[in-house]
């Protein structure tokens, strides 16, 4: 376990920024929310904030940008990707536990199995991630319901926890160990007292999470309950207020769905584009001749829950929600996933009694 004081931490980030684009969380003065901001000049801005809670933007955006070209056609290189210059190295500081877990879940989909998405893989390999503890629990945070902790359990290179005067830091990957080794003049061994300070903050946030979410069900065993509720009318109630904006899926750190589309680039040339897509909008699953297996809004809303809580546990071995709460914050109809799952669970409990 290491300790790095605030001045040295800034030096550390500055050194990392030499090799890649550096993004850090900054606090918006008006909303109090954290956003990822690219840092090109030091010193860090006054509103730099690596405690608090997760940023508004999900971490996935660095590995899977909102929209990007994936093929220019025709091209003399054909399908050869050995010229991979367009992928910059990126250093993301301040990723929280919920985002780190989510990133590993998206990794499973995009890099495991018969095919690997090379665009994702290259971006992901070139991402250095500095994880950070949460020092607050947001109103919508519910990582604890998934049995997760509000700090980086794994999935980053170096994890830091803000305490008075600096950060308790530890490597979580070989690359992280190397980074600390290469910059060992900036780090000292953490004292027990410093680790204790970190642990006290951790205990405080865990307590806040428990208090904040005591009305809601833990997700362990929820997959079976969701599965059993497939034909239930409860989904009509849950979807009744949805306005199909797609914010919940776009801002979700585990939602990975995308669409490929071609745009003309003069003559017979075209560019194949990758773009995030949302299963909540009607065109997502619509085929030629307007055939659509999820033409009804209820079926689309239900699909989001089923994909996360039933299908992906079956196909990829995990619930694809990490409790970041962004879908709750972003929903213009105030639909709360925790509340929806509570309703499903209550209905299921009622059924079993009956």
């Amino acid at each position: 376990m290491h300790f790095i004081d605030s001045t040295n931490f800034e030096r550390f980030l500055k050194k990392l920024s030499v090799d890649g684009e550096l993004y850090v969380p900054v606090r918006d003065g008006e909303t109090g929310k954290l956003h990822m901001e690219r840092i090109e000049l030091f010193p860090l801005p006054d509103n730099f904030c690596i405690d608090g809670l997760r940023t508004v933007e999900p971490l996935k955006a660095f590995a899977q940008p909102l929209r990007c070209p994936v093929a220019d056609y025709p091209s003399t290189e054909g399908d050869d990707m050995s010229d991979d210059k367009p992928f910059p190295s990126v250093v993301v500081a301040g990723a929280r536990g919920c985002d780190l877990t989510a990133m590993q879940l998206v990794d499973k989909v995009q890099t495991e199995g018969e095919f690997t998405d090379p665009f994702y893989k290259i971006r992901r390999d070139r991402m250095i991630v500095i994880g950070a503890d949460c020092s607050e629990c947001g109103e919508s945070c519910f990582c604890n319901l998934h049995g997760a902790k509000p700090w980086p359990e794994k999935g980053c290179d170096v994890a830091v926890a803000r305490i008075q005067g600096g950060y308790v830091a530890e490597a979580q990957s070989e690359r992280g160990e190397k980074l600390i080794e290469e910059n060992k003049d900036l780090f000292v061994d953490a004292r027990d007292q410093q680790v204790k300070m970190r642990d006290e903050i951790r205990a405080k946030v865990v307590h806040e999470l428990e208090e904040n979410n005591k009305a809601y069900p833990k997700t362990a065993g929820l997959s079976e309950i969701v599965r059993d509720a497939l034909g239930d009318g409860i989904w009509d109630d849950i979807s009744a207020r949805c306005v199909e904006c797609g914010a919940c899926t776009n801002i979700c750190p585990t939602c990975y769905c995308f669409l490929l589309f071609d745009q003309k680039a003069g003559g017979s040339h075209f560019q194949r584009m990758f773009s995030w897509d949302s299963c909540q909008v009607t065109g997502y699953a619509r085929m030629a001749a307007m055939a659509n297996p999820r033409a009804r809004l209820t079926d689309r809303v239900k699909h989001r829950y089923y994909h996360k809580y039933d299908y992906l546990p079956l196909s990829h071995g995990a619930v694809y929600c990490t409790g970041c709460g962004r879908c709750i914050d972003s929903c213009s109809a105030s639909i709360d996933m925790r509340d929806a799952l509570r309703k499903v669970k209550e209905r299921s409990g009622g059924k079993k009694k009956a």
Binding site: D79, C257, L260, D262, S268, D277, A285, A291, D310
Partner: protein, 272 residues
């Protein structure tokens, strides 16, 4: 590393008009494409977009490929406007294809409707390549009217391919000069003379047809594990990454597009 989104340059060598709305595109890809019957390709019309199709040609031929396409949307409209000499793109093959190994020694029932005979033709080529490997090959096909019969030139050839092969065709409604069977394709499944216990049924066609074929097969005595259906969902990446082609927890692009009914029978609205 290879870019899986970049298509293989492909020349349209010939276009065969099958029906007023169905054309077969005879393609020559710039590099051979090995595929298994039932696997699908993503076909690009440059500047217009991509859509998934299962080849209708023999999987033993990898230098050329035929794809038979119904004019029904943006990409297929653009395809139907293409003339021989046009350039298109191909990605794939994707998916698992038909369970050929499970068919060996079995009585194989092939049920097609409309343009659904296109992917089945690839299977029929594969089956007829060595008919002795199978106990029976029984092909049932239905179309709405005479002008919508796909691959009519091949029916005679199929009927006479081998002693254990039979082919029957039906029209949904009577038509002038039609002396053959009239009724939905499900009516060809009444009084099936197959040993059902040793049979595998494969079907492709519009979803509504798949639904009633499945119900009929169950009614006559097939069990869900013996039924394979070519499912339709919107597809984009073909590699199980983009998320949209799910039926339950399966992605058709990697687990299908031909799915064993036993695996998907619990999925609500499975037939759309």
């Amino acid at each position: 590393m290879k870019n899986p989104y970049y298509p293989i340059d492909t020349l349209v060598e010939d276009v065969i008009t099958e029906t007023p709305t169905i054309k077969t595109f005879c393609l020559a890809p710039s590099q051979p494409i090995k595929f298994k019957a039932g696997q699908f390709m993503q076909l690009t019309v440059p500047g217009c977009g991509e859509a998934p199709f299962t080849p209708s040609s023999s999987p033993s031929v990898s230098e050329k490929m035929e794809i038979t396409i119904l004019k029904t949307g943006k990409v297929t409209d653009a395809l139907h406007a293409l003339k021989p000499g046009a350039e298109v793109g191909l990605r794939g093959p994707f998916g698992k294809g038909y369970p050929m190994d499970k068919m060996e020694g079995k009585e194989v029932l092939v049920v097609g409707g409309g343009v659904g005979l296109a992917p089945l033709r690839s299977l029929i080529y594969a089956l007829l390549e060595n008919p002795k490997k199978y106990k029976r090959i029984s092909i049932k096909y239905g179309a709405r009217m005479p002008e919508e019969l796909c691959f009519a030139r091949m029916y005679d050839q199929w009927s006479k391919a081998a002693p254990n092969v039979d082919f029957s065709v039906t029209l949904d409604v009577p038509a002038p000069n039609w002396t053959g069977h009239v009724g939905l394709v499900t009516t060809l499944l009444d009084g099936l003379d197959l040993n059902l216990e040793n049979s595998i049924a494969v079907s492709c066609g519009p979803e509504i047809m798949l639904k009633f074929v499945t119900l009929k097969l169950l009614e006559v005595g097939y069990k869900p594990p013996q039924i394979y259906l070519s499912m339709n969902r919107k597809m984009s990446c073909g590699m199980g990454k983009c998320g949209r082609c799910n039926v339950g927890h399966y992605y058709l692009c990697v687990d299908g597009p031909d799915m064993c009914y036993d695996k998907i029978k619990h999925v609500p609205n499975v037939f759309g």
